[in-house]
């Protein structure tokens, strides 16, 4: 008889315990969600203030917003001027490491660094043919000559590496070597900055090859980037 009572009551009491645990965690969560909204809005307002400052100047700038509504939502690099989006670049994969949270402020681009940078060609003066349709085939800097693997160095130790994805097994070989070399370089940068107690942020971005080339072409030294981080320590 007692055994039966115990067997009958045990599940009931277990249910009561679980119910009360659920209730208390709901109460905790309710308080935190307002706090989270406040933090998120503060960050967003800081981003908008910074963008307003850049947009007022009439020069182009970049917004890299790492916040995502869901895991499948894309991350984009937006090239903007006066608040309007001039061009969006889709990012396939992104990873970042830094000493502490990135401040939401503009970081001017100091240098574009690639193993093979495009060089300007010099025009050799020559006489044109009589026909208007005769144009000698001059060399000019074309999009396909732009590098698809390069590093962007910004102020305050922000480094962004861009890797343009290629299709095909063999054509992935070069970017693979490039990625390994970049990775070694970044590891050295991390160690160096740590030894000298310098703050830094390293962001590695993988995107389509043509997008990477177009981005290289579109960026100019002095152009500012503003980075809005997602969840802390996320690898997106």
């Amino acid at each position: 008889m007692k055994k039966t009572n115990l067997q009958f009551n045990f599940p009931f009491f277990l249910f009561l315990i679980l119910f009360s645990l659920g209730g208390s965690s709901q109460a905790i969560a309710g308080g935190d969600s307002i706090g989270q909204k406040i933090r998120a809005l503060k960050d967003e307002n800081r981003l908008l203030e910074t963008e307003l400052g850049l947009a007022s100047k009439g020069t182009s700038y970049i917004i890299l917003d790492l916040r995502r509504e869901s895991d499948s939502a894309p991350v984009r690099i937006n090239l903007k001027n006066r608040g309007i989006v001039l061009r969006e670049f889709d990012v396939e994969r992104i990873r970042y490491r830094r000493t502490k949270g990135l401040v939401i402020e503009p970081f001017p681009l100091l240098k574009k660094m690639a193993f093979f940078s495009p060089k300007r060609k010099e025009i050799r003066p020559h006489k044109l043919g009589d026909s208007d349709d005769t144009i000698s085939e001059l060399d000019f800097l074309e999009l396909k000559e732009m590098p698809s693997n390069y590093t962007l160095s910004f102020k305050k130790g922000v480094l962004i590496s861009i890797t343009g994805q290629r299709k095909g097994l063999i054509s992935r070989f070069i970017p693979l070597i490039s990625s390994i070399l970049i990775h070694i370089r970044y590891s050295l940068t991390i160690v160096w900055n740590h030894l000298w107690k310098k703050e830094f942020a390293i962001i590695e971005i993988m995107m389509g090859k043509e997008d990477a080339q177009a981005l290289y072409c579109s960026l100019e030294e002095g152009m500012s980037i503003v980075i809005m981080e997602g969840h802390p320590y996320d690898t997106v």
């Binding site: 007692k2 009572n5 115990l6 045990f10 009491f13 009561l16 315990i17 009360s20 645990l21 209730g23 208390s24 109460a27 905790i28 309710g30 308080g31 307002i34 706090g35 909204k37 406040i38 809005l41 503060k42 967003e44 307002n45 908008l48 203030e49 963008e51 307003l52 947009a55 007022s56 009439g58 020069t59 182009s60 090239l79 001027n81 006066r82 608040g83 309007i84 001039l86 061009r87 300007r120 060609k121 010099e122 025009i123 003066p125 020559h126 006489k127 044109l128 349709d133 144009i135 001059l138 060399d139 000019f140 800097l141 074309e142 999009l143 080339q213 177009a214 072409c217 579109s218 100019e220």
Partner: protein, 208 residues
Amino acid sequence: MINRIAFISFIGIVVILLTVELFAYYINLNRSMVLSSTGRSKLNELIKKNRTLRKGIAGLSPKGVYIVIDTARELLFLKKGNRTILKALISSGSGNILRDPSGKREWIFDTPRGEFEVKKKIAGPKWIKPDWGFIEETENIPRELENRVQEAVLGDYALAFGNGYFIHGTLYKRLLGRNVTHGCIRVEDEDLKTIYRLSRIGTRIYIF
């Protein structure tokens, strides 16, 4: 006997746990209510500021039609708000360098980047060939202005956006989509007609 003790102990533990849980629930509920009242007013302030900032940014964007030129993809977009009215293939600056044989001058044929505006609209434009045009073709630079004038080279229309740069037509339509110019933007005739018709003095141009 042992079973009874075990049962009573078990009930006692459950009652204590439930009491602690209920107490914790009560504390957190009170805390979230306190957070709610101050938190909500803070949240409302932030929402108001967010709207103001968004309005401020939106206020800087061009009203009416504007032009976006993508020199990487050799495309021109005629837009109004977020809507694209026209997408056109163009030719932009080659980026090449031309040096004066005397060594005193040098030209770099880039299309300038940034924000500009239409300063002049010209129908039936004539090209006043600059010095580099003669040097490039190994010709002597004429002293008289009339010897520099070339007609029907710039197409039917031209829109000036400062420092000698224009959006204009071209004889070399097969080269559209390639960056072959000396800095100006070349557009096909029909597209140029639309751009000329819909733009006015002050229409903004964004080049990147």
